[in-house]
Amino acid sequence: MHSFGQRANVLLTFAITLLALMCAIASVSDNFNSLSPHAHVQVVNINWFQKKSSGDDEVSLSLNISANLESLFTWNTKQVFVFLAAEYGTPKNALNQISLWDGIIPSREHAKFWIHAYNKYRFIDQGSNLRGKEFNLTLHWHVMPKTGKMFADKIVMSGYRLPQAYR
């Protein structure tokens, strides 16, 4: 503490160390958040269902996605990234997961939503296995913090089935 520069150095170092400590504790405090997310997806319409020239099946869906993810937000949340994936099994792959739609929820106010959308990303199978296929629609989310650990979880909704014939 013998000179101006020394005191400035000590102050800045100590201040930044305390800042790191505060951010770590803020991240730990996220663990005490009690979560109660809700979600529901309805397949409104199968727009078309074809076998492409490459031999792979492709289907286009109209979806109603409604969710209430308000309880995921804490004081330390920057945004929540949410995406919807279709999951099913085939003889070739035990598990296929295809992302159909995603979005970013910037704040708690936007976390309760209802949207009507086509699948943003193409639903294409590796092969021709989709006729009459039963599949799950899983809503995944990543809670991205301002500092610290990111939490990810999902809700699995089952009971969806594709038609037996192409249309």
């Binding site: 101006f4 005191r7 400035a8 102050l11 201040a15 305390l18 505060m22 803020a26 330390n76 301002k146």
Partner: protein, 92 residues
């Protein structure tokens, strides 16, 4: 700064920064506002630096004791040894 002043500056700096960190965190957590925490802490850092880094007069209250010049003369610095024939000469 004198020695006591440096000690005071160090203790004051640590105390102020820790207090501001605690207050900032609790306020931010209660209000649910990360930004509030950062603002309070930033203000605290600026305040602490204004208070403890510059060489204020109250850090210089107990002046350092330098030896009196006449006292120093009574204890002369040892002379380097003169190489040559050793004679019994009294050194002053």
């Amino acid at each position: 700064m004198d020695w006591q002043g440096q000690k005071l500056a160090e203790h004051l700096m640590q105390l102020l920064l820790v207090c501001f960190a605690v207050v900032a965190f609790i306020t931010g957590y209660m209000l649910g506002s990360f930004q509030m925490m950062m603002l309070i802490y930033a203000a605290g850092v600026v305040l602490t630096s204004l208070l403890t880094v510059p060489n204020w007069p109250f850090f210089n209250r107990q002046a350092l004791k330098w030896l009196d010049p006449s006292e120093a003369e009574k204890h002369p610095k040892p002379q380097p040894a003169i190489s040559g024939p050793k004679k019994k000469t009294a050194k002053k």
